[in-house]
Symmetry: C2
Subunit: 138 residues, 2 copies
């Protein structure tokens, strides 16, 4: 008992707290196979060691950066294969970076359009609204 604690094994709740994610997220990642099935206590409670903790941290960082689970799988399979090259990783990152840039461009266009529509409208108690008209009108 004391030994397992000394080895730095922690349960799901502690892991979640440590890395600031939810309990269920961890189980979900296990379910979809990006986190390994962990050791268990005799009664079935999950136990995570240092390696799993680092893996989860990696996953959460990538998600925070907006990588999809799909992209994460690719990254993880490289990491797991242990013979990835810098070029492969760079390529994936560049692809993703481009999709981010595109999303920014789209949102900016959208912002512009909305501002233009919205500027027509003075607000207040007027019963007709140029915003609605701009959207509803033919």
């Amino acid at each position: 008992m004391t030994i397992t604690v000394m080895r730095g094994l922690i349960k799901r709740g502690a892991l979640a707290k440590q890395l600031g994610c939810s309990l269920e997220t961890i189980r979900y990642y296990e379910g979809i196979g990006i986190m390994p099935e962990p050791m268990r206590t005799q009664s079935g409670h999950r136990l995570y060691g240092r390696e799993e903790q680092e893996r989860l941290r990696f996953i959460l960082r990538c998600r925070e950066l907006g990588f999809s689970i799909q992209e994460l799988r690719r990254l993880l399979s490289m990491v797991d294969s242990d013979h990835f090259t810098c070029g492969e990783v760079h390529e994936l990152t560049q692809e993703y970076l481009q999709s981010v840039s595109e999303k920014i461009a789209d949102l900016r266009k959208l912002e512009h359009t909305l501002k233009a529509i919205s500027m027509e409208c003075a607000g207040g108690d007027a019963p007709d609204c140029p915003i609605i008209e701009a959207l509803y009108g033919s």
Copy 2:
């Protein structure tokens, strides 16, 4: 028969084609209650008049601008109530506009971070990658 055609009633497929959305989307909008239950032919095929066509166009435009279905419901309930004020519409639009601006800011920060990480990496055949290290390292 000829009469219904002359009245401009069209079926679901024609409506979808006209407005460039999918068949199923229309049924979905009906299911969640933002499109009304339309007239039917005797055999059960949906028939849409001018009013429904305009409503769907409004919905599709709003979605294109990124309004969520939730926000759309608010807009539609104003339009339906027929006594909305310009101020109410303006408020909703401003709220949404702010969320768009925030999203842009977040994505830009992300872009910046990714570029910084990615610049460390030369690509090529090197077996270790600073991108992975930046993400995986403590």
